[in-house]
């Protein structure tokens, strides 16, 4: 049995099968907490813990899937180009809002964690928490964080933005649909953007664009902010 579960195909198959079923479930229910990625991760962790299988064994197969994160991040550059091409006029105010929002996300997170005297490894892992998971993972790796902690928190941030973002913004007096979209995409990436799309088509477009711009902003600024602040 030990030799069998060490085979990569076992874990590639299980991951594909669980993900497929999680997508099915999400299509039927459509709740923020049934986001396929969250369900898939929870089911797999539960399965591994239940059968007392360690993560290294799972990653024998898992690494074949995560390998494709490399070229997929490059593919995001293509998506960003297509998205930015959608809006030709008046991009400047939008870019300023996203830039300020994205950088303040990194700075405020570092500030609060330092105030709580949290260990440095957490600061390095969570600094890119607002951007789309693949970029956040790469940023965490390059600043010496733990990519798995990053992935978990980034997904949680997305679900929070999806479930409460709009209520919080309306409570604070924001009425513009485009402003709501921009904020959701900047603070809570793709999972937040899914909610913006439900609000209105326009909010969805701005949210998708904000996700792209903040992806670039965070990828480029985080290493320098961390280096400057933490040394």
């Amino acid at each position: 049995m030990k030799a069998f579960i060490a085979l990569p195909v076992v874990w590639v198959f299980l991951t594909l099968a669980v993900f497929f079923m999680a997508q099915r479930l999400h299509k039927r229910l459509g709740w923020a907490v049934t986001t396929p990625i969250l369900v898939t991760i929870l089911v797999l962790i539960l399965f591994l813990s239940l059968f007392d299988i360690d993560f290294e064994t799972y990653d024998n197969g898992g690494k074949f899937l995560s390998f494709f994160l490399g070229p997929s991040v490059v593919a995001l550059g293509v998506l960003f180009y297509e998205k930015l091409d959608e809006i030709k006029s008046n991009l400047m105010p939008f870019c300023i809002s996203v830039f300020v929002g994205g950088v303040s996300s990194i700075l405020s997170l570092i500030f609060i964690l330092l105030a709580f005297k949290a260990p440095e490894i957490l600061i390095r892992s969570l600094a890119p928490k607002s951007v789309t998971t693949p970029i956040a993972i790469e940023v965490a790796k390059s600043v010496g964080g733990v990519p798995s902690i990053t992935a978990g928190v980034v997904i949680a941030v997305g679900i929070f933005g999806n479930a409460f973002g709009i209520h919080i913004l309306k409570l604070l007096g924001i009425t513009s649909k485009t402003a709501i979209g921009t904020a959701l995409g900047t603070a809570s990436h793709g999972i937040g953007t899914a909610r913006a799309l439900e609000e209105s088509k326009l909010a969805g477009v701005y949210s998708g664009l904000a996700l792209c711009v903040n992806g670039l902003v965070t990828a480029i600024t985080t290493p320098f902010i961390i280096e400057w602040w933490m040394g």
């Binding site: 964690l113 790796k141 290493p223």
Partner: protein, 111 residues
């Protein structure tokens, strides 16, 4: 498909090379992402040269980071020990980001 996949991997390799040679603290695939964005923007390469493979990769993007999420199980102790500071920092920072971005966008777009 094969051509576009080769081009994407070319940008990935160039990105890794740039990071390696210049010792920049930014991951190679992020550099690759920025370079392919610039190459498209300045019409160095046409969109259909990369679109088939990039669309396929993006379609399954979520699947590729499942293993990182599962890796969270190794760090349960760290999370358990610091859950309050993690929770408050993430909550505070996310709400601030949401509000600041929306506030600026609302103010600036009216002008």
């Amino acid at each position: 498909m094969l051509k576009s996949l080769s081009v994407i991997f070319l940008f990935l390799v160039v990105g890794e090379f740039v990071t390696y040679v210049f010792k920049i603290p930014i991951a190679g695939n992020i550099i690759g992402m920025v370079l392919i964005f610039l190459a498209l923007k300045f019409k160095v390469i046409p969109l259909d040269m990369v679109k088939p493979a990039s669309d396929k990769l993006l379609k399954y993007l979520v699947l590729f980071f499942v293993p990182y999420g599962v890796g969270l199980m190794v760090h349960f102790e760290t999370i358990k020990e610091h859950w309050l500071s993690i929770g408050l920092a993430v909550l505070g920072s996310t709400i601030l980001t949401l509000y600041l971005t929306a506030f600026l966008q609302e103010k600036l777009e009216k002008k």
